[in-house]
Protein backbone atom coordinates (compact mmCIF):
# COMPACT_ATOMS: atom_id res chain seq x y z
CA UNK A 1 0.00 0.00 0.00
CA UNK A 2 1.18 3.49 -0.84
CA UNK A 3 -0.54 6.44 0.84
CA UNK A 4 -0.07 9.45 -1.40
CA UNK A 5 -0.71 12.83 0.21
CA UNK A 6 -0.11 16.48 -0.44
CA UNK A 7 -0.34 19.43 1.91
CA UNK A 8 -0.89 22.80 0.32
CA UNK A 9 -1.97 26.41 0.50
CA UNK A 10 -4.11 28.18 -2.08
CA UNK A 11 -3.73 31.57 -3.71
CA UNK A 12 -7.41 32.23 -2.99
CA UNK A 13 -8.92 33.95 0.04
CA UNK A 14 -10.52 31.77 2.69
CA UNK A 15 -14.21 31.46 1.99
CA UNK A 16 -13.89 32.69 -1.61
CA UNK A 17 -15.74 31.17 -4.56
CA UNK A 18 -12.38 30.26 -6.11
CA UNK A 19 -11.39 28.29 -3.02
CA UNK A 20 -14.73 26.47 -3.02
CA UNK A 21 -14.39 25.64 -6.72
CA UNK A 22 -10.89 24.28 -6.18
CA UNK A 23 -11.88 22.08 -3.25
CA UNK A 24 -14.93 20.77 -5.09
CA UNK A 25 -12.73 19.90 -8.07
CA UNK A 26 -10.50 17.76 -5.86
CA UNK A 27 -13.46 15.49 -5.09
CA UNK A 28 -13.44 14.12 -8.60
CA UNK A 29 -9.94 12.72 -8.06
CA UNK A 30 -11.58 10.07 -5.88
CA UNK A 31 -13.29 8.62 -8.95
CA UNK A 32 -10.05 7.86 -10.78
CA UNK A 33 -9.45 4.09 -10.94
CA UNK A 34 -7.23 2.74 -8.16
CA UNK A 35 -7.86 5.60 -5.71
CA UNK A 36 -8.86 4.31 -2.26
CA UNK A 37 -9.44 5.98 1.12
CA UNK A 38 -9.64 9.44 -0.47
CA UNK A 39 -9.70 12.24 2.09
CA UNK A 40 -10.02 16.02 1.92
CA UNK A 41 -8.32 17.47 4.99
CA UNK A 42 -7.80 20.73 6.79
CA UNK A 43 -4.31 21.29 8.19
CA UNK A 44 -4.70 22.67 11.72
CA UNK A 45 -1.21 22.60 13.25
CA UNK A 46 0.31 26.03 13.82
CA UNK A 47 3.77 24.46 13.40
CA UNK A 48 3.57 24.66 9.62
CA UNK A 49 2.02 27.11 7.14
CA UNK A 50 -0.17 24.75 5.08
CA UNK A 51 -3.97 24.97 5.10
CA UNK A 52 -5.21 21.83 3.35
CA UNK A 53 -4.38 18.25 2.60
CA UNK A 54 -5.44 15.50 0.24
CA UNK A 55 -4.75 11.86 0.98
CA UNK A 56 -5.40 8.68 -0.98
CA UNK A 57 -4.15 5.12 -1.03
CA UNK A 58 -3.04 2.88 -3.88
CA UNK A 59 -2.62 -0.88 -3.74
CA UNK A 60 0.78 -0.63 -5.45
CA UNK A 61 3.01 1.52 -7.64
CA UNK A 62 1.24 0.44 -10.83
CA UNK A 63 -2.08 1.81 -9.55
CA UNK A 64 -0.29 5.00 -8.47
CA UNK A 65 1.20 5.38 -11.96
CA UNK A 66 -2.20 4.83 -13.58
CA UNK A 67 -3.62 7.65 -11.42
CA UNK A 68 -0.73 9.98 -12.18
CA UNK A 69 -1.16 9.52 -15.90
CA UNK A 70 -4.96 9.46 -15.95
CA UNK A 71 -6.44 12.27 -18.09
CA UNK A 72 -8.77 13.35 -15.25
CA UNK A 73 -5.70 13.81 -13.02
CA UNK A 74 -3.61 15.67 -15.58
CA UNK A 75 -6.63 17.88 -16.42
CA UNK A 76 -7.05 18.70 -12.70
CA UNK A 77 -3.37 19.63 -12.46
CA UNK A 78 -3.62 21.88 -15.49
CA UNK A 79 -6.98 23.52 -14.77
CA UNK A 80 -6.93 23.82 -10.97
CA UNK A 81 -3.61 22.86 -9.34
CA UNK A 82 -1.13 24.97 -11.31
CA UNK A 83 -3.22 28.17 -11.32
CA UNK A 84 -4.46 27.85 -7.74
CA UNK A 85 -1.75 26.41 -5.51
CA UNK A 86 0.60 28.78 -3.69
CA UNK A 87 2.82 26.18 -1.96
CA UNK A 88 2.77 22.43 -1.44
CA UNK A 89 4.64 19.36 -0.27
CA UNK A 90 4.04 15.82 -1.46
CA UNK A 91 4.43 12.99 1.05
CA UNK A 92 4.12 9.29 0.21
CA UNK A 93 4.03 6.68 2.93
CA UNK A 94 4.18 2.94 3.14
CA UNK A 95 3.91 0.96 6.39
CA UNK A 96 7.35 0.77 8.01
CA UNK A 97 9.08 -2.49 7.10
CA UNK A 98 10.85 -3.32 10.35
Amino acid sequence: MIRHSVIFTLKYAKGSAEEKDFLQATEKLADIPGVKAFEQLEQVSKKNTFDYGLSMEFANQDEYDIYNNHPDHTAFIRQYWIPGVEDFLEIDYTPLNK
Copy 2:
Protein backbone atom coordinates in the same frame (compact mmCIF):
# COMPACT_ATOMS: atom_id res chain seq x y z
CA MET B 1 -10.96 13.73 15.08
CA ILE B 2 -7.44 15.11 14.88
CA ARG B 3 -4.81 13.13 12.99
CA HIS B 4 -1.43 14.12 14.37
CA SER B 5 1.57 13.21 12.25
CA VAL B 6 5.23 14.00 11.94
CA ILE B 7 7.63 13.31 9.09
CA PHE B 8 11.31 13.17 10.00
CA THR B 9 14.85 12.14 9.27
CA LEU B 10 17.26 10.65 11.79
CA LYS B 11 20.89 11.43 12.53
CA TYR B 12 21.60 7.69 12.46
CA ALA B 13 22.74 5.59 9.51
CA LYS B 14 20.16 3.42 7.76
CA GLY B 15 20.21 -0.05 9.29
CA SER B 16 22.14 1.08 12.39
CA ALA B 17 21.41 -0.12 15.91
CA GLU B 18 20.62 3.48 16.89
CA GLU B 19 18.00 3.75 14.17
CA LYS B 20 16.45 0.45 15.26
CA ASP B 21 16.39 1.57 18.89
CA PHE B 22 14.73 4.84 17.95
CA LEU B 23 12.03 3.21 15.84
CA GLN B 24 11.33 0.61 18.52
CA ALA B 25 10.97 3.38 21.10
CA THR B 26 8.28 5.05 19.00
CA GLU B 27 6.09 1.95 19.35
CA LYS B 28 5.48 2.72 23.00
CA LEU B 29 3.77 6.00 22.07
CA ALA B 30 0.85 3.87 20.89
CA ASP B 31 0.18 2.85 24.51
CA ILE B 32 -0.40 6.40 25.74
CA PRO B 33 -4.08 6.95 26.59
CA GLY B 34 -6.12 8.48 23.76
CA VAL B 35 -3.81 7.38 20.95
CA LYS B 36 -5.70 5.63 18.15
CA ALA B 37 -4.74 4.37 14.68
CA PHE B 38 -1.03 4.59 15.49
CA GLU B 39 1.19 4.02 12.45
CA GLN B 40 4.93 3.81 11.84
CA LEU B 41 5.59 4.82 8.26
CA GLU B 42 8.36 4.99 5.72
CA GLN B 43 8.39 8.10 3.53
CA VAL B 44 9.02 6.98 -0.04
CA SER B 45 8.42 10.06 -2.22
CA LYS B 46 11.55 11.47 -3.83
CA LYS B 47 9.91 14.90 -3.82
CA ASN B 48 10.91 15.54 -0.19
CA THR B 49 13.91 14.60 1.95
CA PHE B 50 12.16 12.88 4.89
CA ASP B 51 12.62 9.16 5.61
CA TYR B 52 10.00 8.29 8.22
CA GLY B 53 6.60 9.21 9.55
CA LEU B 54 4.48 8.64 12.62
CA SER B 55 0.72 9.08 12.55
CA MET B 56 -1.94 8.81 15.25
CA GLU B 57 -5.48 9.99 15.82
CA PHE B 58 -7.14 11.66 18.78
CA ALA B 59 -10.86 11.98 19.38
CA ASN B 60 -10.48 15.67 20.23
CA GLN B 61 -8.06 18.37 21.40
CA ASP B 62 -8.34 17.29 25.04
CA GLU B 63 -7.06 13.80 24.22
CA TYR B 64 -4.29 15.37 22.14
CA ASP B 65 -3.28 17.58 25.07
CA ILE B 66 -3.26 14.61 27.44
CA TYR B 67 -0.88 12.80 25.06
CA ASN B 68 1.37 15.82 24.67
CA ASN B 69 1.74 16.21 28.44
CA HIS B 70 1.93 12.50 29.28
CA PRO B 71 5.21 11.57 31.01
CA ASP B 72 5.83 8.70 28.55
CA HIS B 73 5.62 11.22 25.69
CA THR B 74 7.83 13.84 27.29
CA ALA B 75 10.36 11.13 28.24
CA PHE B 76 10.41 9.93 24.62
CA ILE B 77 11.03 13.48 23.39
CA ARG B 78 13.90 13.94 25.85
CA GLN B 79 15.54 10.52 25.51
CA TYR B 80 15.04 9.75 21.81
CA TRP B 81 13.55 12.61 19.77
CA ILE B 82 15.87 15.50 20.67
CA PRO B 83 19.12 13.52 20.43
CA GLY B 84 18.12 11.51 17.36
CA VAL B 85 16.09 13.65 14.95
CA GLU B 86 17.86 15.61 12.22
CA ASP B 87 14.84 17.35 10.67
CA PHE B 88 11.06 17.13 11.01
CA LEU B 89 7.71 18.65 10.15
CA GLU B 90 4.54 18.26 12.19
CA ILE B 91 1.23 18.04 10.32
CA ASP B 92 -2.18 17.86 11.99
CA TYR B 93 -5.30 17.14 10.00
CA THR B 94 -9.01 17.18 10.58
CA PRO B 95 -11.60 16.19 7.96
CA LEU B 96 -12.32 19.17 5.73
CA ASN B 97 -15.43 20.99 6.93
CA LYS B 98 -17.08 21.98 3.66
